[in-house]
């Protein structure tokens, strides 16, 4: 147990990397995913089809396949990346497909009747977008989005398998040195748990708070 605790600083470095990966992925994927999600809701048919195919494709394969392909497979056709970059790229691609679904669902949850009420009082299209759709869609978007942030944090553990020294790999290395597997795993479990559980709780709280939107 003592060996595990004395390795805590090393684990913290790993945690930092995990958080960095998660944060970068969340930022990229959210920005791109929301744009594409809006595109799929209001855009031309060809765009919707392409995004749909992309989304279904990514969600139909395991994350691990994506990570390995980006890191090991792409160099074979000339695209080389560092482990960290590959990790962020792969996880971002994966998360984008979820953000797109999330955005689409949020936008479509705005009842067409409320759009018509907006038209009836003379609001223009961009005004309806800003004052009606956006506020309602945002409240529908946030709870699942926070959940997907938690999923990203959990998924980030897989990047240890391509050599990114995140919390997961840090744990492995500590165990390699100290041979005390269980205590280290438990410490790691607690850390991941704290991160994800807080996210999951906030998501549920937000959902309850915005339940009135479900009318």
């Amino acid at each position: 147990m003592e060996a595990a605790l004395s390795s805590l600083p090393y684990l913290m470095d790993g945690l930092l990397v995990t958080l960095q990966v998660t944060l970068l992925v969340v930022v990229f994927a959210t920005i791109i995913g929301v744009i594409l999600g809006v595109g799929i809701s209001y855009g031309p048919l060809w765009l919707r089809i392409i995004v749909r195919i992309f989304s279904d494709f990514i969600r139909g394969i395991p994350v691990l396949v994506l990570i390995f392909f980006v890191y090991y497979g792409l160099p074979a056709i000339g695209i080389n990346m560092e482990t960290f970059t590959a990790a962020v790229v792969a996880l971002s691609i994966f998360k984008i497909s979820h953000v797109i679904e999330n955005t689409r669902g949020a936008i479509q949850s705005v009842h067409h009747g409320q759009m018509e009420a907006g038209k009836a009082i003379g609001l223009k299209f961009h005004e309806r977008l800003i004052y009606i759709i956006f506020p309602i869609a945002l409240r529908r978007f946030l709870p699942p989005w926070i959940n997907s942030v938690a999923d990203t944090a959990k998924g980030s553990a897989l990047v240890s398998l391509i050599g990114v020294v995140d919390l997961m790999l840090a744990m492995q290395k500590v165990i390699g040195r100290t041979y005390e597997a269980m205590p280290v795993y438990i410490v790691g479990l607690i850390i991941y748990f704290i991160i994800n559980f807080s996210l999951s709780l906030s998501s549920r709280k937000l959902e309850a708070k915005y339940a009135f939107i479900k009318e």
Binding site: G60, L64, V65, A76, S160, L161, A181, L189, N196
Partner: protein
């Protein structure tokens, strides 16, 4: 790009991929079966119990759901034997892990499924004099299953994809087969070109078949 595609290596070792796929499907199937038992039992316990027992069930669910699957796999495969509890094969340990994992998700699925059983049906059972456990077995559980069928299909497909993680502890499922071919032939692009559609098509076929089952049995609100 001077990569020359050569699929012959893949076909030579295709049995690893094919049997790996079969194993993936089996792992997912066994895990969801055990997971359903765990999930159903805990859901029933949760629904019928007081605050303190509910707390324990909720703790199990929250702990598992908020942890990365990879960590759980390592913990059960390396961690548990290290404190002298069990020794088991990689496959067994992975099944244990995935069952516990899916069980945690299924508790919530079953709990909300039970809550969604229309009161009227239960009242009808009461009216003909059925005892509580009879109502449970004959009315509530069967109805709940029909309600949660879509969620169950999604869970199975999800688990099927999660079996790829078993490759890290050398369980010879599809992903491991791909890795093996990779390390032995260096035909990376070809391997991924083959297993990607294998995952996609299998997932899609499962989805379609389960949809058919849903059409016959599921209750759509």
């Amino acid at each position: 790009m001077d990569y020359h595609f050569n699929f012959s290596y893949i076909w030579r070792h295709f049995d690893r991929l094919f049997y790996g796929l079969v194993l993936s499907l089996e792992l997912a199937l066994v895990s969801i079966a055990i997971g359903m038992i765990i999930g159903l039992l805990l859901a029933l316990v949760y629904v019928e119990s007081g605050k303190s027992i509910r707390f324990f069930v909720a703790s199990y669910v929250e702990l598992i759901r908020n942890s990365p699957l990879l960590l759980l796999v390592y913990l059960i495969f390396y961690g548990i034997p290290s404190i002298g509890w069990f020794q088991y094969s990689a496959t067994t340990s992975f099944i244990v892990t995935l069952s516990i994992y899916s069980g945690a998700y299924l508790v919530e699925v079953f709990r909300s499924g039970l809550a969604a059983v229309p009161e009227g049906l239960i009242d009808a059972g009461k009216a003909i004099g059925m005892k509580p456990w009879q109502r449970l077995i004959s009315i509530r559980i069967p109805t709940m299953f029909r309600i949660v069928l879509p969620a169950l299909s999604n869970t199975y497909i999800s688990l099927f994809k999660d079996t790829s993680i078993a490759s890290v502890i050398a369980v010879p499922e599809l992903m491991y087969g791909a890795q093996w071919i990779n390390f032995n032939t260096f035909r990376i692009i070809e391997v991924y070109t083959v297993i990607t559609p294998m995952y996609l098509v299998t997932g899609y076929v499962i989805l379609l078949s389960l949809r058919q089952v849903e059409k016959k049995f599921a209750i759509n609100k």
